[in-house]
Structures are given as C-alpha cells and as structure tokens.
Symmetry: C2
Subunit: 255 residues, 2 copies
DNA sequence: AAGTGGTCTAGACCACCGT
DNA sequence: CGGTGGTCTAGACCACTTC
C-alpha cells in the first residue's frame, strides 16, 4: 500500500449513524412511533449526544423524523404533496382541507426585494394580506401577499375594518382584475419568527420559500411570498395537462 | 458563570448572532470577500466556536455565505435563478451555459420509489442516464434519469458503448417518443455522496430534489430525479405564458 | 508547515411538555 | 415535578487547501 490512501475512506460518525438509523426506521419502526430519547440513543451507539443530534437533524431535514421539545422524537409520516399549480381559482380557494385561510390584512411598506418586483417605490405602503394554508388539519404554509394600492383602486375608498374580513375584500378585488399569468420561484430559506409560530416550528426551521408574481396587462399586480414547511411538504407542480393528484387519491395511497 | 444577563429576551445567542452578521454582510462586505476565520469571529463575539458555527450554518443555508474547508468563509453572490420550466426541448438542451450535459449511461435497477412511479417491476433493470447541469461555469444540479427498456424499444438491439455516447442515444430515443406532459415535485433533501461530489459539496449538503415524471399516451415513459444545490439555486417555473427571465437579463441585473 | 473549516467530546443549563 | 429536546461551552483532533 505504501503511499496510497486507505481504501475505506473515513466516513464521519454522524453520517454512518444516520444511515444505520435510517435503515432502522424502515424496518423496526412504525409511523408515529416514539424513539428512545437522545441521551439513551447516544449511549447505545457510543457517541456524544451532539453527534447523535447531528444525525437526527439530517433525518429531520429529510422528513423522516419529527422532534418536539418536551415531547420526544417520533417517526414522521411520508411528506404530503402540496399543489402549487397554475391555480386559476387561487384567490377563492375551496372549502376543503386544501384552502388558504385569510388571517389578517394591514397596510405596510413592502420589503425592498418585494418592492423591486412590484416596480413601486419602496416607501409607498401596500396592502399586506396574511394567509395560512392547511392540509389534513396541519398548517403547512404561511403567506404574505403584497398588493399595491394602485392594483385595487376600488378599495382605497372602502377602508374596511382590519382583519380577515378586509383580507377577503382585498382578495376579491384582486380576483376581479383578471390575472394574465404568474411567475414562480422556489428556494430554501429559514423561517422567520412570525412564520415559525404559524407553522408550529422553531424560528430558523428550514422552509421552502415560494415567491409568486401575478401579472395583469399593466404589469405586476401583486407579489406573494409563501413559506412552506420543508420537513413535511413536497411541492407539486401541474405542468401541461398532467394529471394532478387529488387529496383523496393521496389518502387512498397512504392507507 | 453560565448566562450573562443577555438582555431580558430569551433569544438564542446564535439567532441574535445570525442577525448581527446578516446586517454586517449587507453593509460592510462585498460579494466574494473573505470573512475572518471562525475562531477569531467567535472570540470577537464572545461565544464558543460551536455557537458561532450555528449562526454561520444558517446563513449558508440562506445562501448568504459560502464555506470551504481549508479555504475560508466568503460572502456568496445572490442565488442564481435556474429555469425548471415546462421545457419542450428539454432533451436536447442548448449549447449555452444552461445545458444539461450527459455524463454516463448504465443499466441498473431503479430504486423502489422510482419503480413505483414507472409502474414497473422493481427488479427489472432500466436505463439510468446521468446528467450534470451547469450555469455560469458552475455545476448546479446532478440528475439521474430512469428509463424502462420498454420505453425505448429501438435501443435494446443497439447496445451502444457505455458512457456519454450511449447516454445521448438514449435521450434521442426518448425525445422521439413525443411526450405528452410532465408532472413535477420539489422537496428538500440532503445530497448523497455521489451527487455531492458532482456538485462540489460535502455529503449531506442541503439540496432541492426535483422529481419529474414524463408521460406519453401509454403512461409514464421516464422518471427524473434531479438534485439542485440549495445554497446557490433559486428554481424558477414558467407558468402560463409568463415572461421567463433569460440568463442575459440576469447578468445585466446583477451588474 | 500553517491555516482553514469539519468533526467530536463530555459536560452544563434552559425552555417546554406532560402528569 | 421529571423527562424531553434546544442551547452553549471549552476544549481536542482531523481533512483539506494553500504556500
């Protein structure tokens, strides 16, 4: 051998640990089952707790585990597919478990990045609608919708009472515009404190940030920034007439 | 000693640290600039290196920083938008920086999850085409394309030499089928060792996993599993005639 | 060889949940 | 209250890159 490297490259302990645990999850555990606590697990594998935690963090990132402070670590169900399709009826939203639920509506300055997309002055206040999306009774996404007052001129005179009621009227106005198209992007982020609270996660939890621009003939009418729980969600996109899997079908497959 | 009276707020140190660093990145650093090393930074902020690292990890996750072992920590450029659109000409791919580059083609068993989507027996070997996608000279994604032999019957007799040449001929056959649609999903994952190597990252690095099913009239013709670097990529989807931003435009905006 | 980030340890205390 | 995961420390050594 001499100068050549050892054939078995040294694999980090936490990586090997992750593999072992992953296989154990497949064979020895059922969804929802509680794992031994971190101190016991670390002792069983003969590693420090920090090392064990590094493996658990990876598995949680991959949606295999769910950890809750004060409770324990459980085996997570498969990720739920969430449709982020070219939704024609996006604003209204069905009454089923799929719906966006308006929570609040305020008037505020848009963040610089959003103002740039809207093509407005960043000091000009815009309508900010907060919506929550739930599936199977679980909150999966929190959204902030930014709508320049100029996009919904009818509303400026109304000045409805704040809260969900006003949110709905803004959405109604927006729906009335007749949107011509949209433009989406997805990237990884970490949950802000307010979003984390809505999603029942700790601040900094990994999220998929979906940014959508809504167009009318006049230009960008609104911008949405939606943060989806990365641990529990798989975003699905319906392309070119492909069959979009329905919620009911998913439930059947799961059972 | 333990905790000093760090304000009355119970904000974790690493979280506060992340905020401070993030603001410093905005004001005091240019893209590409090298930060002080972790030991110095930790000392400067009066925290343990592990705590400082927790903050850096978050910032790297958000695409603000780039860390390389043996080199240092640098300020990352804004994430590059990568089109994952309803690509009609997906198989061929232009010659520009946007292209998928075929690397290899083997015959192997598909993973169980892929076999399920293909609707084939998981023991039946399929063509496995490996492709790399690069933008601006940077590898951004690694893909495995699974194609049942039954989808490309013309090819079974040919048995071209392995490698990129065979990969290209398989893609050509697939292109000839006339695909009717596709079905995409995006989720968070961690890079396998082989993908990590292609993407110049460490194993376990966060990636966006884009799974695509390609349909013909007969059913699913192929399944692609592409892993994009989550730190450097923002996936963009062209919906319903929306303007897809071109690479050239992005470059102009960046400057 | 020197310097960087990556891994690992063995503790400690804190915040939160259930009982 | 006891038990859980979350944060934090002050070290140590390793793998890698660069000079």
């Amino acid at each position: 051998m001499g100068t050549t490297q050892l054939e078995s490259v040294q694999e980090p302990k936490y990586w090997h640990l992750k593999t072992v645990l992953s296989e154990a999850l497949d064979s020895d555990f059922a969804v929802g089952e509680i794992l031994p606590n971190e101190r016991d697990l670390a002792a069983r594998f003969g590693v420090a707790r920090a090392t064990l935690r590094q493996a658990l963090e990876q598995l949680e990132l991959e949606g295999r585990l769910q950890r809750r402070r004060g409770v324990g670590t459980t085996v997570a169900p498969p990720r739920v597919g969430v449709a982020v399709s070219t939704g024609r009826r996006e604003w209204t939203g069905g009454v089923g478990g799929e719906a966006w639920q308006p929570v609040d509506c305020t008037m505020d300055r848009a963040p610089a990045a959003v103002a740039a997309m809207l093509g407005t002055d960043s000091t000009e206040p815009v309508h900010v609608v907060r919506r929550i999306r739930a599936t199977h009774g679980q909150a999966v996404a929190a959204e902030l919708l930014y709508i320049p007052a100029s996009s919904v001129p009818e509303l400026s005179a109304i000045d409805a009472p704040a809260g969900a009621v006003r949110a709905r009227s803004v959405l109604r106005e927006l729906h009335r515009l007749g949107l011509e198209g949209q433009d989406r992007s997805v990237e990884l982020g970490s949950a802000r404190a307010d979003d984390a609270k809505e999603l029942d996660r700790l601040p900094g939890a990994p999220v998929l940030v979906v940014t959508t621009r809504y167009f009318t003939a006049d230009g960008t009418a609104a911008v949405s920034v939606a943060t989806y729980r990365a641990d529990t969600c798989r975003l699905t996109f319906g392309d070119s007439g492909a069959l979009e899997i329905s919620e009911e079908e998913q439930d059947r497959q799961a059972s």
